[in-house]
């Protein structure tokens, strides 16, 4: 095991971290940097709880090695989604009273935010398809759908 120093660009802030080569980005975020909003759920990219943005794309932090994301790539976590937790999706999430236990919701929000950035006006089927990789055991899917559709409508009327 070889230790190395990595420089990471997370939420427009530069972080330095000394970890073993090949360490999962998820452990770096959570355990080394304290960005614990990104959650561990499965470790094999099946549940989506650890969804973050890498250069604007939604990815699962659990299967990324720190080595591969330390070359200036822009990493965005739930802590960086908005300044004060007031991203339109976050507001819609509160309005729809979407979360129950809340554990998967960072991943849900990051996946949804990526969707609306790419496609501001997705159909219901497009939303379902895009969100399909993020599990919720409490069964909040319908309220997540509602919140995304609410945001989409709102964006439509304000733009």
């Amino acid at each position: 095991m070889i230790m190395a120093t990595y420089s990471l660009n997370i939420n427009e802030t530069s972080y330095e971290v000394d970890v073993v080569q090949g360490t999962s980005l998820l452990w770096v975020l959570r355990e080394h940097l304290g960005l614990t909003g990104t959650k561990y759920g499965c470790g094999i990219a099946q549940c989506g709880s650890c969804t973050i943005h890498l250069d604007g794309n939604p990815v699962r932090a659990c299967i990324l090695q720190v080595d591969n994301v330390a070359n200036g790539q822009r990493i965005k976590t739930i802590e960086g989604l908005s300044e004060k937790g007031n991203h339109p999706l976050q507001q819609a999430w509160v309005k729809a009273q979407a979360p129950q236990c809340g554990y998967c919701q960072s991943g849900q929000l990051m996946q949804a935010a990526a969707l609306l950035e790419k496609n501001p006006n997705p159909s219901r089927e497009e939303i379902k398809s895009y969100m399909n990789g993020v599990l919720c055991r409490c069964g909040t899917y319908l309220r997540i759908l509602e919140a995304i559709e609410m945001t989409k409508e709102q964006t439509k009327t304000t733009s």
Binding site: G37, K39, G102, K128, C136
Partner: protein, 728 residues
């Protein structure tokens, strides 16, 4: 609200009140059944209380009018963090916009609600008991807080107590036109001679509720959308180290580690800690601990499950159901044998369900720190358990109950799994070995699946008799499986008038770990009962709703949910081509009837649930929108488990490891809508968290019967099983 009905029965000894320098002005606690006001002047008394109980209090008011109410129940998504303080605030007439909510300390003597025995106290977030059991506790405590404020205002203004009213955190004396905010009263607080032990009549009439029954947003949701909500797995303490365990895939198998020195030589590894059923590793980082776990070379011994093949056991279970030897009686009414003998027609069917896993999204974990001298410990955990056992840590360490502090965190899902403390004890053992360094123990998802504690596999044989008109005369229900109440709950039919009934449980045992899983035995049992009813109704060409209407003749509240759901689901109108509706009734504290509409892909065997309707009677509903959320979540968990979820064992070993081979329902598979209608009621609140899940399998099977004329009798209804049934 007026004060005329309060009944003063209990002497109140402390005359003084608490004024502290930190702006904290008032503690109103409840020690035993009666409230305590802690005196700040009596500093020794305060010290005693605080040492004994931490903060002994339900509420804190500061001079600026800010109110903090303590929530005594675990928050795992069911909304306790709002519902319980809301009940308190209702009776206190607090301005909800000025209320903060915090977790109460884990001390059941003070914060418990009535336990399983009358007069006992319990902090245990299980069995959908939170609102049901805390409703009277929080109402009384809130009313007592209000009483102290009224008393203080009466003394301050020198007016009769009975002339005072309250509204929105203000005491009002209408006669003189005076008003004073609760915060402003803080510096004029005085203690009443006695505190009333509020009876129902001294509390608000439910029709005067201002908070209860309204759409109040949940207090903890904002922190759950910005990533700041803390779960135990998020804890990071100075000098914290990381623990993991390798437990193998056969429950109870004993490990022999053959490369300990190699493991100890690995970078970052601090300690190897053997358990009877696992090998623990502690390392200075999580990644080092996980690498060491991967590198463990373990020889596993045999254990009870050895040789057990879960999918082959059903034939043995069927033989058990056939045997003359009876099991434990669960319910007996009339003479079911005679009813069978005199029947115009009898029916018999076997229903089966495979093991299922909790799959809560936050894998099990805990943080424990044991003091250097081993004489005290602190625990950070998301647990449905709590105060009463301190999660077993006092016994583990051989120290007194008071020497262990439990800091309850949000639960990333519970569903029954977090009512066990196995993971906390494991962390305690690692922390003991590492004292005084805090240890964070994390179960990987693979650990969580393979070493799960499952809802048991069962076979249920049902025998039913009818007269010539299709009236049910006898109902015989034999549950075969492991786990006692884990398999027997929900097998009674108390809301159906069936003159002769017999329910029994016949034991089987395989050494597989089992635990309560949302709605417990109700899931499999309600499936079997409701599917059986429809098979009989179908055979007599009786509409399933008409059939149940007759059965519910002596259960008006249940019947009202049936009538309501028939209406909102437009039951009598035919479904679109290729679709059909099915109905099922469930009692789990609250009463609910559900209707689903499904379609089936005849090529793939895939069942799709398009819509779900529920009518629910839960008594007084504190947070209607949250109750609806519980219904939605319960239905989705029900669909997931009825269609997809399956743990299997081969030669005693759990075959599934993660979400790739233990599939949960995903976004693309959810129904278009889940519509819940709550029947208005002033009756005592009943739990709602486990009422929806068990109605799903029966409703689907019944819709499937209507659609195809075929019977689904084995959960989960996987595409393979559906095809098999379609082709039979």
């Amino acid at each position: 609200m007026s004060n005329t009905n309060t009944k003063t029965i209990s002497p109140f000894s402390r005359r003084k009140f608490l004024k502290s320098s930190g702006g904290v002005a008032l503690f109103i606690g409840a020690s035993g059944l009666l409230p305590n006001l802690l005196s700040c002047s009596d500093s020794k008394g305060v010290q005693r209380q605080l040492t004994k109980h931490g903060v002994t209090a339900w509420v804190r008011i500061t001079e600026d009018g800010q109110i903090t109410i303590y929530n005594p129940a675990a928050e795992m998504g069911q909304g306790s963090m709002t519902a319980l303080p809301l009940i308190f605030a209702e009776e206190m007439d607090a301005d909800w916009s000025r209320v903060n909510v915090e977790f109460s300390p884990q001390e059941s003597e003070i914060y418990g609600s009535e336990g399983w025995q009358p007069g006992s106290k319990l902090m245990f977030t299980v069995g959908s008991r939170t609102t049901k059991s805390y409703y009277p506790v929080m109402r009384k405590a809130g009313a007592q807080a209000r009483y102290v404020l009224l008393h203080s205002a009466a003394g301050y203004w020198k007016v009769p107590f009975d002339e005072l009213t309250t509204d929105q955190s203000e005491v009002i004396h209408e006669k003189s036109g005076q008003k004073i905010g609760y915060g402003d009263l803080v510096s004029h607080l005085s203690m009443p001679e006695t505190l009333p032990d509020f009876t129902e009549s001294g509390l608000k009439n439910p029709k005067d509720f201002k908070l209860i029954g309204n759409e109040i947003p949940r207090t903890e949701i904002p922190e759950k959308v910005d990533g700041s909500a803390l779960f135990a797995i998020d804890l990071r303490l100075p000098n914290m180290v990381y623990g993991v365990l390798e437990r193998g895939s056969m429950h109870g198998a004993k490990p022999t580690l053959t490369n300990e020195s190699e493991i100890l030589a690995m970078e970052g590894v601090l300690k190897v800690v053997p358990f009877d059923y696992a090998i623990g590793v502690v390392a200075n980082t999580l990644e080092a601990a996980l690498s060491a776990k991967d590198a463990l070379n373990i020889e596993w011994g045999d254990a009870l499950p050895k040789g057990f093949n879960s999918q082959e056991i059903y034939s043995t279970y069927a033989q058990r159901a056939n045997a003359l030897k009876k099991g434990d009686t669960v319910n007996e009414l009339g003479d079911v044998e005679l009813a069978m003998h005199n029947a115009s027609k009898t029916y018999e069917a076997d229903f089966k369900n495979d093991y299922v896993y909790h799959a809560q999204m936050e894998p099990l974990n805990a943080v424990v720190q044991v003091a250097q001298d081993g004489q005290s410990a602190e625990v950070w955990v998301g647990s449905q358990q709590g105060a009463d056992t301190k999660l077993g840590i006092p016994d583990l360490l051989g120290i007194p109950h008071e020497a262990v502090k439990v800091n309850l965190q949000y639960l990333g899902g519970g569903f029954g799994r977090r009512s066990m403390n196995d993971f906390v004890l494991e962390c305690g053992s690692l922390a003991k070995a590492m004292a005084p360094q805090p240890v964070k123990l994390i179960w990987t998802r693979e650990d969580d699946v393979t070493y799960g504690a499952f809802r048991p596999l069962t076979l249920q044989r049902l025998r039913v008799s009818t007269d010539a008109q299709g009236n049910l005369t006898g109902f015989w229900h034999c549950v075969v499986g492991d786990g006692g109440n884990l398999v027997a709950s929900g097998a009674r039919n108390d809301h159906y008038t069936i003159p002769n009934q017999w329910v029994e449980w016949r034991e089987a045992s395989h050494g597989v770990r089992l635990k309560h899983w949302r709605s417990v035995g109700h899931g499999p049992n309600k499936f079997a009962i409701e599917a059986m009813l429809d098979e009989v109704a179908y055979d007599h060409s009786i509409d399933p709703i008409d059939f149940r209407r007759k059965l519910m003749i002596n259960a008006p509240r249940a019947l009202a949910t049936l009538e309501k759901v028939a209406k909102i689901s437009d039951w009598n109108s035919p479904s679109a081509e290729g679709r059909a509706k099915g109905v099922a009734f469930v009692e789990h504290g609250s009463l609910g009837t559900g209707v689903c509409e499904i379609s089936v892909n005849y090529n793939t065997g895939q069942i799709t649930v398009h819509r779900f309707w529920i009518a629910l009677d839960a008594g007084v509903v504190v947070q209607p929108n949250n109750v609806k959320a519980q219904m939605e979540g319960g239905i989705i968990m029900g669909i997931s488990s009825a269609l997809k979820e399956q743990i299997t064992l081969v030669d005693g070993k759990v075959q599934q490891r993660n979400y790739d081979d233990y599939q949960l329902l995903r976004m693309q598979e959810v129904p278009d809508s889940i519509e819940t209608v709550i029947i208005p009621s002033a009756e005592h609140p009943e739990g709602v968290g486990e009422t929806a899940t068990p109605m799903v399998a029966g409703a689907i099977a019944n819709a499937f019967l209507k659609l195809t004329g075929k019977r689904l009798r084995h959960m989960p209804f996987t595409p393979e099983r559906v095809l098999e049934v379609l082709n039979s």
